[in-house]
């Protein structure tokens, strides 16, 4: 028995050891990023390097936070991701409601078509999408950035699956009480789908915020760049000025990190949602 206990203790210590080392390795790049962003130029290139700044330097932050171009990137990302998320979540909810609770001709065919489009990667249809955007003059506009994300076939699928679990008897009761379709939608479907809405919204927002290839294709003037795109140009602009580059990376990462740490459960669920999506 003593032996067994000892073995358990030992295996716990080993487990903790492995996980602790792994955590340090995984977190180190972030630590290094923040540390670099707070060092003066000379110290950044010092050999051997210092783990924490010997001399704290806020200069990069002051410079970048007054840089209107950089702030514009931020604003653009926010506008695009927020608008896309609100619109796509709302119409996913409505379409999900319709597919889940109404019977009409062609419903299954339509739903099947939506399922098929989930499987097609965006990268495969971005060329025709771009040609379309050129034809209707959406290049280098907010509308151009947003229009591919306002309808999400995955969102429709996800909401339908959720709304299907709401019992029909609730809807019938509402009907007897004289509630119309919209009243049912706002009074019953929406309140009962709150957590699904939150999870879907987080997923959509994260996806839109991190999107890179479509902004790269559809925008060409600096004032329309989203944060990801603007940041990717930092390497060229600041060549080897890694203090500035790490400051930009820190400022871009911080909001996302805060959201994650506050809404941890929802974010994990929202992010792993795409597992179903593939």
């Amino acid at each position: 028995m003593l032996n067994f206990r000892l073995e358990q203790r030992l295996s716990k210590i080993v487990t903790h050891f492995i996980l602790a080392v792994a955590s340090v390795v995984i977190i180190f790049p972030f630590f290094w990023m923040i540390s670099t962003s707070l060092k003066p130029d000379a110290e950044i290139l010092r050999i051997p390097p210092t783990l924490l700044p010997m001399q704290w330097n806020r200069g990069f932050y002051q410079e970048l936070l007054q840089d209107t171009v950089f702030l514009r990137y931020f604003l653009n990302s926010l506008i695009v991701a927020a608008t896309g998320t609100v619109i796509s979540t709302f119409n996913s909810l409505i379409a999900g409601f319709i597919f889940a609770k109404f019977r009409f001709r062609g419903r299954n065919v339509l739903f099947f078509l939506i399922l098929v489009t989930i499987m097609v990667p965006f990268q495969c249809y971005m060329i025709p999408l771009y040609v379309l955007a050129v034809r209707i003059s959406l290049v280098d506009t907010y509308a151009g950035l947003i229009f591919p994300i306002i309808v999400s076939s995955f969102g429709i699928f996800f909401m339908r699956q959720n709304i299907q679990t709401i019992p029909d008897s609730l809807l019938e009761a509402a009907k007897i009480d004289g509630a119309g379709v919209w009243a049912t939608f706002f009074r019953i479907i929406t309140p009962l789908s709150v957590s699904a809405i939150v999870i879907l919204a987080i997923f959509q927002f994260m996806t839109a915020w991190g999107d890179f290839i479509w902004p790269l294709v559809i925008t060409n003037s600096r004032k329309m760049f989203v944060l990801e795109l603007g940041l990717s140009r930092f390497i060229g602009e600041f060549s080897v000025d890694y203090g500035m580059i790490m400051t930009g990376a820190t400022l871009a990462i911080l909001p996302v990190l805060v959201v994650f740490l506050v809404f941890r459960r929802y974010v994990i669920e929202g992010m792993t949602l795409s597992g179903i999506k593939g």
């Binding site: 790049p29 290139l45 990268q123 294709v217 990801e228 992010m271």
Partner: protein
């Protein structure tokens, strides 16, 4: 409206060496990234699901890279991989090893991109495996314990076989996602950084054909190739879903 060109776009694509190079790079990226991220994801999920303290701390830390977007992550790693002052090379030098030219040749660039991609996705796989591990009824483990099975035997004979469906699922998802790799390849090896170390994958080649050389037809043809490969794995995923 242009003229109908039949399969000319495809024929010229299949004669193009750049296309083959991009295709092969995509395949090796997919294989290595999938393999390592699945094994490590499973390992971490297993360790985290031992009844230990600070479980949620570890889980949160390992998940952080998943949440972040790719561009800042690439910038951080480019700084770590830097030749003269990058932390990794300084560390190698510190322990008396030769420096590595991480982002200087196409081959090493691909390796670097793979490392970053694995690091970013481990947490994601870990969470999915965690769900699978929690679904294994504890009576199996109790039975194994009564039979006096060692930890390793229990893992090999009970955990792994029962996780088979979810392992396949994670692998297929990873393969599909990795086939679509673009951002990290583009940010870390193209553009100003580029030089001789540029790595071409399917999506970056599609992008180059369509939006750098304005050969939309050739780009679209390559898109179809990518689509077919992805669909193949999607079908595998569907069949698995039916079997479960």
């Amino acid at each position: 409206m242009g003229a109908f060109v039949g399969i000319r776009n495809y024929l010229s694509l299949f004669k193009d060496e750049i296309f083959y190079n991009a295709f092969l790079n995509t395949i090796s990226f997919t294989i290595f990234t999938t393999l390592f991220s699945v094994v490590l994801g499973l390992g971490f999920a297993y360790l985290i699901n031992q009844k230990i303290r600070f479980k949620s701390v570890y889980e949160t830390i390992i998940f952080i890279p998943v949440v972040l977007t790719f561009v800042p992550v690439c910038l951080i790693w480019m700084w770590l991989f830097e030749w003269d002052n990058g932390f990794i090379n300084l560390l190698l030098r510190g322990v008396g090893l030769p420096r590595v030219a991480w982002l200087s040749t196409p081959r090493m660039s691909l390796v670097s991109v793979i490392i970053v991609s694995i690091w970013k996705v481990i947490g994601y796989n870990m969470i999915i495996f965690s769900v699978g591990l929690k679904n294994i009824p504890s009576m199996y483990y109790e039975a194994a314990m009564i039979d006096g099975a060692s930890r390793w035997t229990t893992f090999r004979r009970i955990t792994l076989p029962l996780l088979r469906p979810i392992t396949l699922f994670v692998m297929v998802i990873s393969v599909i996602n990795n086939l679509k790799v673009f951002t990290q390849v583009y940010v870390m090896t193209h553009g100003a950084q580029g030089g001789g170390a540029q790595v071409e994958v399917l999506v970056s080649d599609i992008y180059a054909r369509g939006f750098v050389y304005f050969k939309m037809g050739a780009g679209a043809a390559e898109s179809i190739v990518l689509l077919l490969v992805v669909l193949l794995f999607t079908l595998v995923q569907f069949r698995m879903g039916r079997e479960r």
